[in-house]
Amino acid sequence: MKKMNRCIITLFVAFMCLPILVTLVYSFATEWGKSILPSGYTFKWYAQLYQDPQFIAAISRSLILTVVTLAAVLVILVPSIALVAIYLPKFDHLFKPIVLLPYAIPGVVLATGLMRTYTNGLVPLFAVLSGGLFIYSLPFMYQSVRSSLQEIDGTRLMEAAEMLGASKVYAFIRILLPNIKIGIMVGSLLTFSAFFGEFQLTNMILGGDFETIRIYMLRVMKVNGHLSSAVVMTYLILLVIISALIIKLTNMNRKRSSMMREEAAFKPIVKGSPAHELLNH
């Protein structure tokens, strides 16, 4: 029985890795037109890519968009979630469905609404894009932070701090935030990946005017498959590095947490992530 399990999982992993491997090989191939294996191997595509100023520009744009939006999400959303969870429970009935709404609304629908509302130029389109991405990050930032708050019984902690003389702001910064750091980091990790690789909203709202990494990827794909493969591999490696960094940071905090919170760290990955990464690509 165990053997069969392992067999199935291995097949699954192979199935998932195959396209990635093929892309990897393609990025190193000199030419791969009509044969089963490439005719030769080379680094020249990568060299060409990294010297292309537009590639660097595309990565920068993706990074700026991601960092700016993520910062806004953290600063605005996290305190709001904590506020509602701890002090305004009656709002929760309203809050939860609103926050989970983006799950139900396909990306193209929101993009359409945003386009029709802001084509007149009242709000700079970069802000519109950022706003749209913000909305889409709501469901799993909410889930990550919320479940983290519940694990540590945030309400009780704030009350205990208050009884001991702390102001609400002090307690929030010194007691609550450090203990939901894991939840925030997990949410941020997912959000970062989602924003960095975003295509749909960017393409519809700004299109070629703001060439992020995925848009660049598509443009190059139509011209030179090898370059495009190199872009894909670079992009994947970048994401893996950033994710590994965030996970490392998370693990460093594990020393202090009890067993319960370790579970909390992984529950959001299981529950919250699939939606964004796999949905609406």
């Binding site: 609103i98 396909p106 359409t112 609404g113 029709r116 509302t117 498959g225 894909v232 699939p274």
Partner: protein, 282 residues
Amino acid sequence: MQQHWKRQAQACLLPLAAVLLLFLAVPLVIMIRQSFGDQNGDGFSFANFMQILSQPFYYDAFRNSFFISIYSALAGLILAMFVAAALARMNEKAQEKITLFINMTANFAGVPLAFAYIILLGNAGILTLILQHMGIPLQSFFNLYSWQGLALTYVYFQVPLGVLFLYPAFKGMDQRWGEAAALLGASHFSFWARIGIPHILPSVLGTFIILFANGMGTYETAYALVGGTVSLVTTRIASSVSGDIFAQPQIGSAMAVLFSILMIAVLLVNQYLLHLFRRDIK
């Protein structure tokens, strides 16, 4: 005194409320309004909706999206069930690793996926060539750039999504249930029929619906693979809203509204089915 604080707390929610208003509420309202109007946003009629439902150019999009989503969701679900069942039986470490793996590979969907499948199954694709050598002319019955090709490509991200949603249900099947049932005299078949399947069914149905919704909403992979040659709801809406020559934004809005209604209906059906089968889940 507590009242004062409650007011302050509510005030602190204003930034979020502003974002929600500006980038969620208002756009949706405007879009709905425009779906009833004409090119300039005036008037009020169902003309746009009628056009969508009567002209093949538009309703083909719904039909294609529908079939692609159904097939990829079904295939994805069945494959995912095997993987999820296997995954649930593995140890904690393995489960964590696989979950992480799935999260990582999720980033591949979209443009990279489209391109990789072109390399594999395109006209000069590796697998195409291998099959040709084996005497199977893939091109005669399969075209990657058709809706069938899209459906096949979608399976790549439907399976892992299905696994993530299904495996908690399999995991939740406590071994002890089987033992308890056996002690009470149930056969293997009885156990599955009365306890096992009812436990999993809501998750299976729910996952199917999620996969279906996911398929419907896919944009990037389709756009990268077939551009506008295969009419899909997502790409059709996008092209009618952006500044093409053929742009008719009000139709785009109407399509978006129809699409949203369809999706919400699907989710409601999901909730209803959940309630029907498992009254213990709220």
